[in-house]
């Protein structure tokens, strides 16, 4: 397993949409390196022909009857929103000015 550097952690944090301060990066990066080191052994355990398990219970195609069931009202759905405007979720801008 390759080492995980402070820069790698910063990049991963960006991908995961978490602002990490310098102090947090200093704290977390070495811990993550230790954790990764301890799980590295996994890459040599299973032979090529072992099928992967994604779920303990091999279920496929679970259907239900196509009947309408009650859902949340608009009011209920919006009840936990940080900001609401005209019965909609109000969110910060998505695009920059140059876009």
């Amino acid at each position: 397993m390759p080492d995980i550097s402070r820069d790698d952690v910063a990049h991963l944090a960006t991908l995961a949409r978490i602002d990490l301060s310098d102090a947090e990066l200093d704290h977390l990066a070495p811990q993550l390196a230790v954790i990764l080191d301890s799980i590295a052994s996994i890459s040599e355990v299973a032979a090529e022909d072992v099928p992967p398990t994604s779920h303990a219970l091999p279920l496929t195609n679970v259907f239900r009857e196509d009947v309408a069931t009650p859902g949340l009202t608009a009011e209920q759905a919006l009840s936990g929103a940080p900001e609401v405007e005209e019965q909609r979720f109000s969110v910060p801008r998505i695009l920059g000015e140059e876009q």
């Binding site: 944090a13 990764l36 799980i39 996994i42 072992v50 936990g80 910060p92 920059g96």
Partner: protein, 507 residues
């Protein structure tokens, strides 16, 4: 006057049915107990006295009319704060959900309400169920009723401490890698992780979908069986829910309580003991196995060679699923929203990044980043793909072992409760607490933890784990109840009778 908080849920149900008490009386008794001790224990994040008493009144009215909704109608319960409760805060122990009040009930919560169990409150937990000590709760740790300076286990330390300190006769927990069983072990209580798919996950805020299960947290095996039978079974709202009836769990617990183990083959898992296990925990484990053998069980040693890779497998699969699950906390539709400092008109992405930095604690950040890494291109096949293959090998080990034994047994956790703060900033040491419980989650099989006694070194509780094949949850109840009875006969009562009373603890 009877102190109803000391009774089991089964006894309370009988007392209600016989008219010896009312739901209001015993709900109030538990609320009073919480008022007296929870300042020191901190099992609850939220107590709903008013709501619980209103539900208790309604329950008493049903009893008076001769139409109780269930055997447990009127018996109060605590619910882990990871289960959505309409009208009651649900934080998952995280700042990012502080003050969130779900507009719907989890299916299991809806079942509790329909069955008439007053909900006392929501119990503390490691943030998003990530942890083994409850110290990762954003709202402060829960304290172990056996020693308030020690951890109550985790992630469901709140539920375990609530029943251990007689603040509730029953609680619901969730178990992703041991979060019901390990707290049970270190608090001297009983906890069951059902077969994956045996209890609905609808309304359970997912940590790792393919591993999470809701289950009972109680003081006795019979109480767990009663609660498991109530909340278990098929739920069309959970596509991984098993569409077939549960085995008769209460009957299995009653059969076990006769103490007769003849005809039962018990497999001791070689890989789940020895190095890393505290001597006092191993001593209580070995005595428990001997007791079961004396009661007629046949014991065999089984080997599950890939179990040694279970921890590594788990810490790839869990963060991968968690990082994807927690992407929904984006500061847009619910939960916290934080605007970054010194940015004019920040974008949605900047708000999201600032919110997730403020809203998530260290352990959540660690696991999200680990999961993002494991799923990123170039590493996916080497880590996540490999972990999924090892998961298959672990299931095969279980299959081979269950060909030789009806149940498998091990200590539940390698050690007794450690001191608060001791492992807080050493993630790897913390992860090792789940060494013996994780294989069951990876394979989806059921497991129970029952108290096995106090370790000689520190006088703290240890747990005995019983695992059974998928869908054979009844076996863990039979063996668990047998051991519970055999040990109680030796001790002259339940282990919890030896716990400090907490009378006069500072609030």
């Amino acid at each position: 006057m009877t102190d109803w908080t000391r009774s089991t849920a089964a006894e309370l149900a009988d007392a209600l049915a016989n008219g010896e008490t009312t739901s209001v009386e015993l709900t109030q008794a538990h609320l009073d107990r919480t008022a007296a001790v929870d300042g020191a224990v901190h099992a609850y994040l939220h107590v709903d006295a008013e709501g619980a008493l209103a539900q208790a009144e309604a329950s008493d009215a049903r009893r008076a009319a001769g139409s109780p909704a269930s055997r447990l109608d009127g018996v109060p319960i605590a619910v882990k704060d990871v289960l959505a409760t309409q009208g009651l805060p649900t934080t998952c122990g995280s700042r990012i959900l502080e003050g969130w009040i779900p507009p719907y009930d989890a299916t299991v919560v809806d079942t509790l309400r329909r069955a008439g169990l007053p909900i006392l409150g929501k119990t503390n937990m490691d943030e998003f169920a990530m942890g083994s000590s409850t110290e990762h709760s954003a709202y402060g740790p829960t304290h172990n009723p056996w020693d308030l300076d020690r951890i109550p286990g985790g992630s469901g330390g709140g539920s375990a401490a609530a029943v251990a300190s007689y603040q509730a006769p029953l609680a619901l927990g969730t178990d992703t890698g041991g979060s019901i069983r390990q707290p049970g072990a270190v608090t001297g209580t009983v906890g069951v992780k059902p077969t994956y798919g045996g209890v609905s996950r609808y309304g359970l805020v997912a940590l790792a979908n393919s591993l999470d299960q809701v289950g009972p947290v109680t003081r006795t095996v019979l109480d767990s069986a009663l609660l498991h039978e109530l909340v278990g079974g098929h739920d069309p709202r959970d596509s991984t829910s098993i569409d077939q009836p549960l085995p008769d769990l209460v009957a299995a617990a009653e059969l076990g309580a006769t103490g007769d183990m003849s005809g039962v083959r018990i497999g001791v898992v070689k890989e789940l003991s020895g190095e890393g296990y505290q001597p006092g925990v191993l001593a209580r484990f070995e005595e428990s196995v001997e007791l079961l053998v004396k009661a007629g069980a046949e014991v065999v040693e089984v080997s599950c060679p890939t179990f040694v890779h279970a921890l590594a497998t788990y810490y790839l699969i869990l963060p991968a699923e968690a990082s994807s699950n927690l992407a929904k906390f984006d500061a847009m539709r619910y939960g916290l929203r934080v605007y970054p400092d010194g940015v004019d008109a920040p974008s949605a992405e900047e708000v999201m990044r600032a919110t997730r930095d403020k809203g998530f604690g260290d352990e959540v950040k660690r696991r999200i980043i680990l999961g993002t890494y494991a799923l990123s291109s170039g590493y996916y096949d080497a880590y996540y793909g490999q972990a999924q293959k090892v998961r298959t090998l672990i299931s095969r080990d279980f299959e081979a072992a269950f060909a030789k034994a009806d149940v498998l047994v091990s200590p539940t956790a390698p050690t007794t409760a450690f001191k608060l703060g001791e492992k807080l900033d050493d993630p790897l040491a913390m992860y090792l607490n789940d060494l013996a419980t994780i294989p069951a989650n990876l394979a989806g099989v059921p497991g129970i933890s029952v108290p096995s006694g106090l370790a000689d070194e520190d006088g703290l509780p240890a747990g005995f784990q019983v695992l059974a094949p998928a869908l054979a949850d009844d076996r863990v109840y039979r063996v668990g109840a047998a051991l519970e009875k055999l040990l109680a006969d030796q001790w002259g009562g339940p282990l919890l009778a030896q716990a400090p009373t907490l009378d006069g603890v500072a609030r």
